[in-house]
Amino acid sequence: DAMVIQNPRYQVTQFGKPVTLSCSQTLNHNVMYWYQQKSSQAPKLLFHYYDKDFNNEADTPDNFQSRRPNTSFCFLDIRSPGLGDAAMYLCATSRRKETQYFGPGTRLLVL
């Protein structure tokens, strides 16, 4: 089945230790998104790629970076995680201007 896959599902890191979250898709969608979702809140868009074009949200901290080496994969890098970065990170994909489909998320814990 075509799907959006996120690895790992749970990630524990130490304060200040860089961490990378992974997203892959078999839908062949050209847009990939990264959202941060804190408990009982709506997802907050961090950035998205339209093909290779990177689009950062104005209020996304510099601590968050992303890479998209090919159509299928997209990575979220958190350079120096703080306690406030503990959250669920959701990856989503879509064709341009079409419905977004979400992955299962990676829950990040910062110790």
């Binding site: 009982s40 998205h48 879509s94 201007k97 419905t99 299962p104």
Partner: protein
Amino acid sequence: AQTVTQSQPEMSVQEAETVTLSCTYDTSESDYYLFWYKQPPSRQMILVIRQEAYKQQNATENRFSVNFQKAAKSFSLKISDSQLGDAAMYFCAYRSMNTGANSKLTFGKGITLSVRP
């Protein structure tokens, strides 16, 4: 800028009954999409239903239907014959259809639906 408002943080429904979740939005655009997403306790966000603003007919998907009132900027979700598996957080979301706009979703704050057996 567009906004989406879900004013009820929680609702409860008896199994097999019908429940309606409310959503209002604000926009100056005429062409857009509206969505309801469901996020069960396992946390994967699942698309429930989608409505194109240019369509007058309300979207339906099995037990899920919407009441789309464009002039009133209202987009409610009706769940018929509620099942235990419907218990989840439900998000209403808006997306512009305008050329040049990115595909950004604007979410409401969500509503937690519980289903009583």
